[in-house]
């Protein structure tokens, strides 16, 4: 097994008297899709906000390539190659695909936007992800479907040289065909060597795309299993707390 890009050890985070994360361990591997599932309030959002640097953890270790790092701001995370694609997407609808993919990191020449180069890089990135669904890279985002927007958001993360892409509910608002497209994209993303962490409520999606499934229950990681070695009903059991994961967690995690 390859070494993880990111390893979280004994992560804790509380808000006042409420302990949201109670010593969570998690590993994200290059070239693999890890799923993070759990019911509402299990601590999924808190966990990824910490990784994004938006809301630093109280204690615990974050290792990137085995080195301890501090994620104190979104810039820290971005510098380490961690990109989060949020559920509400954070795209500017009045701008086109290229402008959105480069927003905040535009290339300029003589102080002017270098539109040609940016267009080429954007096309190339979309092409590398085998995106065939958008007509033109100069289309405004307002004219795109939900699935296409998700594609652009993911491509934006890829363009920014992400090594780990965290996807928050990427298929939540999508139809069947679009969900399929996005899941295929997620798979290709991992196949290219990026570590992917996908947060989803949809277990069918998780089973289709993920290599590992990590289950959070009330702030603790109650199960970390290979997708192949588990079943839908088992995972539902872990999520709802009705079933306990038997194998020694510590042993499996190391």
């Amino acid at each position: 097994m390859v070494a993880p890009i990111i390893e979280l050890k004994d992560i804790r985070k509380g808000f006042g008297p409420v302990e949201v994360l109670k010593g969570v361990n998690l590993k994200i591997y290059p070239g693999q899709v890890s799923a993070l599932v759990g019911d509402n309030g299990a601590g999924k959002s808190t966990l990824i906000k910490g990784l994004a640097g938006v809301q630093p953890y109280d204690s615990g270790e974050v290792l990137v390539d085995g080195n301890a790092v501090h994620l104190g701001s979104p810039k820290d995370s971005s510098k380490l190659g961690i990109e989060v694609v949020y559920q509400d997407l954070a795209l500017c609808e009045n701008l086109d695909i290229v402008q959105n993919m480069f927003l905040g990191r535009e290339e300029t020449e003589h102080g002017m936007l270098n539109n040609g180069e940016m267009e080429k890089a954007a096309s190339r990135t979309l092409g590398s992800l085998s995106v065939r669904t958008v007509k033109s890279v100069r289309q405004k985002v307002s004219s795109l479907s939900g699935g296409q927007r998700q594609t652009v958001a993911i491509a934006r993360a890829v363009l920014q040289e992400a090594r780990v892409v965290i996807l928050d509910e990427p298929t939540a608002a999508l139809g069947v065909a679009q969900t399929e497209q996005v899941l295929n994209l997620v798979r290709r993303l991992a196949d290219s060597g990026v570590g992917v962490l996908i947060i989803s409520h949809n277990l069918a999606d998780v089973f289709q795309v993920a290599d590992h499934i990590n289950v959070l229950y009330l702030g603790s990681m109650v199960a970390q299993v290979e997708t192949k070695a588990t079943t839908n009903s088992d995972v539902i059991g872990y999520i709802t707390g009705l079933k306990t994961y038997e194998p020694d967690l510590e042993g499996a995690a190391r």
């Binding site: 096309s123 890829v158 060597g193």
Partner: protein
């Protein structure tokens, strides 16, 4: 795509080494013949991206209407008047575009111009300064007011409508204090009076024509060259020259008309009014900033989705403050034009023009919700609004009718905009 197992190889790097041109299936909108490009344009218009087409249609309709109704409308004298009358409104509309693109508003732009011109006239006429340093102080007054507005909007978090409404009510008071109750000062400086009332020598008009054409050619070829260098598709060369040709012919007709004697008395009046090249330069620089710089793009981004802009690492507060600074400073330039035309600065200077500026931007197709619209659209809108005032003035209708029609055109333009947007589906949340 090969699988890269190494932990330090990002996908983007892998893609870079893989190389490759534009993948099949993703176009750029630059491909195809002139006919394809035209078809694409028609498709966009039908899809609701009207741009300034409604405003241009309005200009054509009004021109035909006023020409039919008044024998004076399409005379050389009136055309020259129309453009000088448009100039200060156009510059004010350009100023307002910067804040309107953010979804903000500056109701105080007119009275800001009043205070700036108040400072100018006190220095120029009372303290006997030269006109240029006096005007620079006026610009600084505008810059300060803009910074003030921007700070309260971006840092304190008060809606710009409220902040600038406060200034709209308060700044006329400041002007009263500065100039003294009911005082009106005559502008002494011949340079300032010349802006609106004098014309370029005939050769000056031709120089302007040459500059306009050369700049169009240079920018078109610069853009094209960079796209070629990047190896992405370019539009057909013919289309580029059609565009340049349209600009060249329009400017040529304009200069030809204005270089002829338009006087109704013995003294000849001929040449392009001095204000025209100044206004063109302001429009050109503003367009370059909005369309070609990172700053301009960020302005659109903040106007479109401030949260997305913030997450992309854009300093949203700085963008907001700077937009108000630009707006208030340009408002002073607009004030200088107005002062030059009426020849005086009084205590009520600039108290009514701002809503015409907003109307100009909206009529031209700039969205008050932010993020949509181009600078040139506001300029076309300003010419349209000025044309209504000018044409109705010639018809000698009562002033009330004039106001009613101006208001009606504004609502009509907003309706066209709203309907086209509904059609394009470009509106989601709040439009």
């Amino acid at each position: 795509m090969t699988t890269t197992k190494g932990t330090d190889t990002s996908l983007a790097a892998a893609v870079d080494t893989a190389g490759g041109a534009t993948p099949p299936g993703i176009a750029t909108g630059y491909e195809g013949s002139i006919a394809d490009q035209l078809r694409g344009y028609v498709r966009r218009v039908r899809g609701g991206e009207m741009g300034m087409l409604p405003a241009i249609a309005g200009l054509i309709v009004l021109t035909i209407l006023f020409t039919a109704l008044s024998p004076y409308f399409l005379t050389r004298l009136n055309i020259a008047n129309l453009f000088t009358q448009s100039a200060s409104l156009a510059v004010l509309a350009v100023a307002l575009v910067f804040v309107i693109l953010l979804g903000e508003i500056d109701l105080s732009a007119g009275v800001t111009a009043g205070v700036g011109m108040g400072a100018f006239i006190l220095l120029d006429s009372v303290a006997n300064w030269d006109w240029l340093p006096s005007f620079l102080v006026g610009l600084l007054v505008g810059l300060a007011i803009g910074t003030f507005i921007g700070y309260f909007v971006a840092k304190v978090g008060i809606p710009s409508f409220v902040v600038t409404l406060g200034l709209f009510l308060g700044l006329p008071g400041l002007l009263l204090v500065m100039l003294g109750d009911g005082n009106t000062y005559r502008i002494q400086s011949p340079e300032v009076l010349a802006i609106m009332n004098n014309n370029l020598p005939l050769w000056g008009g031709w120089v302007m024509l040459v500059v306009v054409v050369l700049v169009s050619i240079a920018t078109a070829y610069y853009d094209r060259g960079r796209r070629v260098k990047a190896g992405v598709p370019v539009r057909p060369l013919g289309l580029l020259w059609i565009r340049i040709g349209v600009i060249a012919v329009a400017t040529l007709v304009f200069v030809l008309l204005l270089n002829q004697n338009r006087s109704v008395s013995v003294l000849p009046v001929e040449g392009v009014p001095i204000v025209v090249p100044i206004t063109l330069a302001i429009i050109w620089v503003g367009t370059q900033v909005l369309d070609r710089t990172r700053y301009g793009l960020h302005l659109y981004a903040v106007g479109g989705n401030p949260e997305a802009a913030r997450r992309a690492g854009i300093n949203v507060a700085a963008i907001r403050i700077s937009a108000f600074m630009i707006c208030s400073t340009l408002a002073i330039v607009s004030g200088l034009f107005t002062a030059s035309r009426i020849g005086t600065v009084g205590t009520s200077f600039g108290s009514t023009i701002v809503l015409n500026g907003v109307a100009a931007a909206v009529v031209g197709g700039v969205s008050l919700f932010g993020g949509r619209g181009r600078l040139i659209q506001a300029v076309v809108g300003a010419i349209l609004i000025s044309m209504i005032t000018n044409g109705l003035g010639l018809l000698q209708l009562p002033g009330g009718v004039n106001l009613l029609i101006t208001g009606g055109v504004l609502v009509l333009a907003a309706t066209v905009d709203a309907l086209s947007r509904k059609r394009s589906g470009a509106s989601l949340a709040r439009n």
